[in-house]
């Protein structure tokens, strides 16, 4: 039998049909839906006069557009409200399970899926959102799709996709103090660029990866798309099984036992081939921060920025254009730079561990008075857990407040917008021009680095305060 990678095993076992000279028809086990990329897809079904093919495998929650305060009130923005209401109506019409606003399971779709056990090892998952790659942390083949494809999956529970190439990224060695999963992924993207993974599906492996918690693994896989890869995945292991066990939609009893036996086979065979293999030394990674306008433009927090002379023509133009937008001098340092906002949250870093990390860092200290800080839990369950664990109290004592769950300032579709020209340290995933509001300037970093900036009002090496 031919040697297979983890990705091959999951992908191949879901191929319903191979179109001659074309893409594979791949069966989708779980389809996650949110309010922004689904209305046109449901409208397409209505126009065809058909219903959602497998409503029990389809789960919806509003996240992109929701306010993060006063969620019990009507959404003020008329268009946002209309999208959220349209989602509710569509789910009712088609019998799709919805965790609506104020439902105890509502939240950012990629936080909700794993915490409810909807995300399972060895499964295929899609969502009309590029950060669907998050779920690869469980050894699932999970990737983002466009709205026409959302309609396709709603209509048929299958998707047409050419099989991507395979890349192995191995990170071995012990991580230094203050280095988190977010730093690992920002480090990798800074090395291979924002397009270095395009055309590939990535498997992450190595001791620095397997030593991560499930939540850390999710942060890592979440940002696979930021190097252009459709998805990234990690072989499931005991850490995975322990996380999934007992969750609402996870298999139970003998089904569980059977599932685990299968899941244990989901690893890359010795000698299986990848189209590309890259290895990094975990010991070389430090707390990271981005300085430019794509996630590949990142550096170690203590680095001096390039002055541009080392780049070839095109890259130099891109570099200088980005720094001009950011109003940063080439060749300057990141440390000590004044910031105006801090955002903790998103599908990248909006989970309970991120809030624990932030809270334990600021415990007994005081928020910088001039910095506006948005702490946005990834889900109602994360919010509830913050309260149960007393995290909210620690935060309040340090001068912070918890908001309510949603995508929030990651993409600023709701009112959480960073004003023009202002700087934000954000734990989210994109630092594109205007991503956090028109004219906003974003530095991507870990929750630890965000916490350090929230205390000092400037970019600060978190290790100095640990």
């Amino acid at each position: 039998m031919s040697k297979k990678t983890l990705f091959d095993k999951v992908w191949d076992s879901h191929v319903v049909s191979q179109i001659e000279g074309g893409p594979s028809v791949v069966y989708i086990d779980r389809h996650l839906v949110h309010e922004v990329t689904s209305p046109q897809a449901f409208a397409g079904l209505d126009k065809r006069g058909i219903k959602v093919a497998r409503p029990k495998q389809t789960f919806a929650t509003p996240d992109h557009n929701v306010p993060t305060i006063d969620q019990h009130l009507t959404i003020r923005d008329v268009l946002s409200r209309s999208q959220v209401e349209t989602l509710t109506k569509n789910c009712e019409n088609h019998g799709v399970t919805l965790f609506g606003l104020n439902h105890p399971w509502q939240g950012v779709v990629h936080v909700v899926g794993p915490e409810l056990g909807i995300t399972l090892p060895g499964s295929t998952m899609v969502c009309g959102d590029s950060h669907t790659s998050t779920h690869g942390a469980f050894g699932a083949v999970a990737f983002g799709i466009g709205t026409s494809e959302v309609e396709m999956v709603l209509a048929t529970q299958c998707i047409m996709q050419p099989k991507p190439k395979k890349m192995l990224i191995e990170v071995n060695g012990k991580l230094g103090k203050g280095v988190t999963a977010k730093d690992i992924i920002l480090y990798i993207i800074s090395k291979i660029s924002a397009s270095g993974g395009t055309g590939y599906f990535i498997e992450f492996a190595g001791s620095a990866i397997t030593s991560l918690s499930m939540e850390g693994r999710m942060t890592l896989c979440n940002m696979s798309i930021e190097m252009g890869a459709r998805g990234g995945m990690i072989a499931p292991d005991e850490t995975t099984f322990n996380y999934v066990k007992g969750r609402e939609f996870a298999p139970k009893g003998t089904d569980w036992d059977k599932a685990v036996v299968y899941w244990k086979t989901l690893k890359t065979d010795d000698g299986a081939e990848f189209d590309s293999v890259i290895r990094y030394d975990g010991g070389d990674i430090e707390p990271m921060i981005t300085y430019g306008t794509n996630p590949g433009m990142g550096c170690k927090i203590s680095d001096t920025l390039p002055d541009g002379s080392e780049f070839a023509d095109n890259n130099k133009t891109t570099f200088l254009k980005a720094l001009k937008y950011m109003d940063i001098e080439p060749g300057s340092k990141m440390l000590g730079r004044k910031i105006d906002y801090v955002f903790l949250g998103s599908c990248t870093n909006g989970r309970i561990e991120d809030f624990r990390t932030f809270a334990s860092f600021v415990k007994g200290k005081k928020k910088d008075k001039d910095t506006i800080v948005w702490l946005v839990p990834g889900s109602k369950q994360v919010e509830k857990q913050c309260i149960e664990e007393g995290i909210d109290k620690i935060l309040n004592e340090a001068g912070f407040e918890l908001r309510q769950p949603g995508c929030s300032a990651c993409l600023a579709m709701n009112d959480d917008k960073v004003p023009e020209g202002k700087y934000a340290v954000a734990t989210s995933n994109r630092n594109f021009e205007g991503r956090q509001g028109p004219g906003s300037r974003t530095f991507l970093a870990s929750p630890l680095t965000a916490a350090a900036a929230a205390l000092t009002g400037v970019i600060t090496d978190p290790r100095e305060l640990m």
């Binding site: 319903v16 049909s17 179109i19 000279g21 074309g22 893409p23 028809v25 069966y27 922004v36 990329t37 209305p39 046109q40 409208a43 397409g44 126009k47 065809r48 992109h64 557009n65 946002s80 209309s82 999208q83 349209t86 959102d129 590029s130 983002g144 799709i145 466009g146 709205t147 026409s148 494809e149 396709m152 209509a155 048929t156 299958c158 047409m160 996709q161 050419p162 991507p164 924002a194 397009s195 395009t198 055309g199 252009g228 459709r230 306008t293 794509n294 095109n314 133009t317 891109t318 993409l411 600023a412 579709m413 023009e420 994109r430 594109f432 021009e433 205007g434 991503r435 028109p438 004219g439």
Partner: protein, 197 residues
Amino acid sequence: MAIDKFITLESPAIPLPIENVDTDQIIPARFLKATTRDGFGENLFRDWRYDKNNNKISNFVLNNSTYTGKILVGGRNFGSGSSREHAAWAIYDYGFKVVVSSFFADIFKNNSLNNGLLPVQVSEGFLSKIYSAIEANPATKLKIDLENQTITLLSSGESEKFDINPYKRTCLMNGYDDIDYLLNMKDKIEAFEKSKA
């Protein structure tokens, strides 16, 4: 639901020689609140086209009447970032039928093909030639021939082959819709489900 057929196109092109044009630039998130597919062209490249007072930014290429046409020529890694299909809708709604670049982000490429917007990937060398030709004469036309998978600079006759999945090419040339194709596979999909149960 058929998409518009695409066979050949001859048109001048609009140059946008910027790398990593991400979907947040193509259509910023605050314009994603519609529940229909219409009208996104109005906000295509919104924050590059208009300043904060909604005045046109004169040096942005779409505001420069020297450049016209149904072909947009972008820099490397075009369409990176979010999976929002609104980006492809906005480009198409604005009036483009083809986007040329030396490298496309995966999801953007799929979304474009699903909407009758043809992504044409060329070599870096050919991309430079296109930019130079447009710079010399903004009325320079490009010809895209989908059946033969060629892109030609009509001013010089220089041509390059481009890749496209044969299945997708057939869909575009005939205006076929993937979903109809899959709906016809219902029995096969059900058989697959039974085999896994």
